[in-house]
Symmetry: C2
Subunit: 337 residues, 2 copies
């Protein structure tokens, strides 16, 4: 659903020093909070995703069943619904929007969960891509609140290669002079379309394209997929400064940057108390399974379960029923523990 | 060596219809042609490479020993030395430079080899990346002339995913308004730098970046590698129209488009008479080994030999001594057959 609720954060002091005054967290909930407040699941959004983009994994008969659980989907800061460059009044508007970390996102979400709903313990935190990053951060920031995590197609620390991939996206977007350092009078459409084309090669695997699986998504040709899916994706109410805010969040994600860990990612992973079911996708080009093997080695109670197949990163996007069934079944197993 | 020779092609009629008048093929040779003309090796260049960029695989004691073989390195059309947008006089100059196929390149090289040197049979054709594509094309265009081919980190047909990767590079380059549809007054430096950053994620593997192997290449940080290596690469006398000409050649490469095969890549591969030693790199992100497994299945006398390790596509660039030794040893084995 497109509707959402807003939690007023007031003054949100960010990890890198700015205070976002009148900050807001947009969110949506599915199901009813049980009287003992023990059935809440947190399911953060991904890069440019909105709460409604998470709904494919929620529904009657699925593990995330609103008949059983109270599912909270907080929108990431910068996504255009929560406080973002596009909706923040001066002076922190547009190109002046401050740097936001994954830690900051989780701090804001923690206030929603505790202050608004009085929840002391979440049954599960799960998420795709940057949502997986927020999932890891929850387990590090609030280990006592998180008994289970299921990050899929994401990481606890953005790898060097992943940062490079994002440099390409950023460089393409900002090569458009219309961008004007973020003070654009009109959307930098050429840059957005270029960023989309850069992203296209990364989002799905080589094998996905080899088999022309975009045809299964309803696209008649490769160019139809590049324009219809990818350019459409980046033009669908995506603001350039918003995209760059979230891109910075992503490039700089690292649970080791949680206060108290001094940059030690391994120590941060070691502090996780949750049972972790970690699900990279077999052919994910920017969150490859090898990176998650590394993370799992450092989490006390973790299992690596690779999503098989050729959909690459978008295995976790809800587009391929087989991958959705895999993720849903894994979540069911985790919730039964 | 920076010096080169020029073969005058005269009127070069291209596969897509234009005639390039006064076309030139720039080339360099290493070693002496034997009296029986039986010791010639052809070693075409790669995307934006020049003949001197191939010299890492040539030398005394190596398989491509100028003391034994006569090694011809023809520069690809569009690379700035052979006929290119940047050096062709009007009316086919700059943005009007015609579309050139891999077939066209090989046709021009065939004239050099036969008309200039009177060679009837090449001992070997080998090449990296787009050079591998030209290698395959030689074996299809002139099967009787080519007893051995060793394409490494390339393909006989550009895969759909590979085309998408290149779309991202192209979109980043042309997002710079300075490009002006190819009629730029000054080099589109922002676009070239953006294209370089897009390329950076593809050229080396995730594991290469994970291990910070760019430090072995002499770069002090990731940003130093992105600017010093990648942006420097794209600014090193690389002309934007030249890059786009070669990019079109690459995106449209397919031995099945050889006249007589009617687009049937499998039939074209089946017509190869050469002994083929096909060497993809284990973690090449745009020429993955799976694609070359497919090609090898359709070539009558072919072996797949994967270059192990984490250097990705740049395993074939001469930067990593271990990969260079692997390729050199494989070539030695092939030449002994």
């Amino acid at each position: 659903m497109l509707e959402y609720k807003t939690f007023e954060l007031g003054n949100l002091t960010l990890q890198h020093g700015a205070t976002l005054r009148g900050a807001r967290l947009a969110y949506q909930t599915y199901g009813e909070l049980a009287p003992d407040r023990g059935n809440a699941i947190l399911y953060p959004t991904w890069y440019s995703g909105r709460h409604w983009d998470n709904e494919w994994l929620i529904g009657p008969g699925m593990t995330l069943d609103p008949g059983r659980y109270f599912i909270i989907v907080p929108n990431m800061l910068g996504n255009g619904l929560s406080s973002s460059p596009s909706n923040t009044p001066p002076p922190y508007d547009r190109a002046r929007f401050p740097r936001v970390t994954v830690y900051d996102n989780v701090a804001a979400q923690h206030r929603l969960v505790t202050e608004k709903f009085g929840i002391e313990r979440l049954a599960l935190v799960t998420g795709w891509s940057m949502g997986a990053g927020q999932t890891y951060q929850w387990a590090v920031s609030h280990p006592e609140m998180v008994p289970r995590i299921a990050p899929f197609c994401g990481s606890s620390r953005t790898s060097t290669h992943n940062r490079v991939f994002l440099e390409g996206v950023k460089a393409a977007l900002t090569a458009d002079a219309t961008f004007a350092g973020g003070w654009y009078a009109h959307p930098p459409v050429t840059g957005l379309r270029a960023a989309a084309r850069v992203y296209a090669g990364w989002g799905f695997s080589q094998a996905f394209y080899w088999r022309h699986l975009y045809e299964e998504l309803g696209y008649s040709s490769l160019e139809d997929f590049l324009v219809g899916f990818w350019e459409g994706f980046f033009l669908d109410d995506r603001d350039a400064n918003n995209l760059l805010t979230m891109l910075w969040t992503w490039q700089n994600a690292d649970v080791g940057q949680t206060p108290g860990f001094g940059g030690d990612t391994v120590a941060a992973l070691g502090s996780i108390k949750a049972r972790a079911l970690v699900m990279p996708a077999e052919k994910d080009l920017y969150f490859p399974p090898e990176d998650e093997e590394w993370a799992v080695r450092h989490i006390p109670d973790a299992e690596l379960r690779v999503i098989p197949g050729v959909w690459g990163h978008f295995a976790g996007h809800g587009s391929n029923p087989e991958d959705t069934r895999f993720i849903d079944a894994a979540l069911r197993e985790l919730m039964s523990l």
